[in-house]
């Protein structure tokens, strides 16, 4: 009876040890994968930030306005051409 008790106890402890070890491995591995992914995401984020910087420069905005043929009215040319002049992009 006592022997059976001891064997059962030993088996329980051994199972607990193995399970903890397995969980420990799995969690650490997952952490490692997450940290790697975190670094990749940060890298991607920084790259996107710079890409947005490129897209919001005055040159880029003007280029896209031209490409999209937006009817933007420039207030300045109508001024320098005199009171009768129409804005450059005004519809007839």
């Amino acid at each position: 009876m006592r022997l059976a008790l001891v064997i059962l106890g030993l088996a329980a402890v051994a199972l607990a040890l193995v399970d903890i070890r397995r969980e420990d491995l799995a969690v650490r591995h997952e952490m490692q994968a997450l940290e790697t992914r975190h670094a990749e995401v940060r890298r991607e984020l920084w790259s996107r930030q710079v890409d947005i910087g490129h897209l919001t420069t005055p040159q880029a905005v003007r280029y896209r306005a031209d490409v999209l043929a937006l009817e933007l009215t420039d207030r300045l040319p109508s001024v320098s051409r005199g009171p009768d002049a129409r804005p450059a992009t005004e519809r007839p």
Binding site: V6, L10, V13, R28, M31, Q32, W46, H54, T56, P58
Partner: protein
Amino acid sequence: MSVRFGRHDLIFVVLLAAMGFLGVRLVQMVQACEVPPDPQHADVAERIARASLGSTIVVPLPGRPGDIYARGRSSHVLMAGSRQVPSCFIDPSLLNETQLAELSRQLSGMLGVDPGELYVDLLARRERGSRFAWVKRQVTDAQADAVRELDNRAVGIQYEWRRDYPLGSLAGPVLGFTNDENVPGGGVHLAVFRAIQARQGRRVVLGDAGRRPIWGVGEQSEAPVDGCDVYLTIDVNVQETLQKAVSEAVTKYDAQWGTGVVINPWTGDVLAMASAPTFDPNNFGDTPPQAMLNRAIATPYEPGSALKPIFAAAAVERGVLSWQSRLDGENGVYHAHRGGRISDHGRRYGLITLWKAVVKSSNIVMAKVGEMLGNRQLFEIAHAWGFGRRTRIGLPGESPGILRDLDEWDGYSLRRVPFGQEISVTALQMVMAFGAIANGGTLMQPRLMTRITDPRGRELWACEPTAVRRVLSSGVAAQIRECLADVVERGTGRRARMDRWTAWGKTGTAQIAGRGGYVDGAYTGTWVGGAPKNRPAAVCLISIYWPDRHKGYYGGVVAAPYVKRVLETTLTYLHVMPDRP
């Protein structure tokens, strides 16, 4: 009564002891999994590593260098940012000659490097015992993936920082650059290097025999600290207008260089600062050093007549003269006693008022103003207005200009400093002085950086507008603005006249000094002025150095039309109400 221990009892005790040991070990392992992030427990991870797997890898964790932002129409615009790019490296010591040759062949196909050169280089490094060599830096993501697919433990990919400048050459000399080794090269980068610099972190990883990472050891790892972000007063839209104007003027008049500055006279904010030729910090390696110079702060030059309003206003402020005081223009040529010959370059004036002398830009009358003020007062005025000392804008390489010590001044200085000879100024000093005229007489300290924030956006440092000193009363400042508006309407600056705003300003056409005197046909053409007249919102200066004299060299020709364009665009952009009917 004696106690008898049987064989089974002994086995039971031994097994009980074993169970106790395993229980203790279980507790230890649970504790080891819950090590708090405390330095005194840092060796626990090392012990785990040694006990279990025996291999640790230190992986650097990159901290991002801070960004530099300019103002935009409704938000901030990125001037300098950073991104990580992959680079391919190799450990030649892990390979024999045959493997090295094969790997060189494979890598050359992927990365576009010469296989022979790569092999010879790697072989030499291997023989020297080197364990690290770059195969190719800054490769594409596709190339990096191809290298990873090789699955060769001797070859790896490491990420490096590359600074990116979305605005290109728009403000190159102001920004400076950072090279591949993260060393700053002038401009704002050098000025705030400590703030934008990041602190790299590290992650300690347990690896297998093939150095493949298995898990991280948090206790020995350090988080990276990103650099701080810097916000400038430069407005990208104004900067673009100014840069275009200066570059166009330099090209059109075939000048050696040109510079321009736009400021808000009330705060001293530098809205734009341009130099031509300029450079693109993205390609700093291909740039001649001269193109990297921020001419607005680094290169002093004689301002010529643009300095006249300052001494005229100072003479009125000190009560030496009034605007209506009449002085003799000597009919165009003045032979001063121990002062040499001074001419008005073909224009002949008799008795004219100080007001008209400024409008018509008479050298002779300004020489006489100098005689009335005397060397000491002239020196004090120049010094008070910020000439001969750095403006403290906070950029490296700023020149104080050239204002000689008073004891070196003679009869020539007395008559020439008032019309901008024998004194050299920077464009920034000049525009700040005119800023004082614009804001009612207070010389402001130029402000280029407004704040520095940490990566979470918390403000670490802020710069408020700073007044240096009062140099004019508001009344005299208004009078000199009125006089300078006359320069635009009736004087040498007609090409700066705007349709919607009343402009004011002054031309300067200064001869360029060489060895042993002024160089024949070499001039600096300047226009500096602001608008509107009563409450100026912006002051702009453009100087064009050594234009082709056959194409034009007067400040009113080579600079005034461009200042007009910059001011018109800037005032429209800033929604300044027109003041002209």
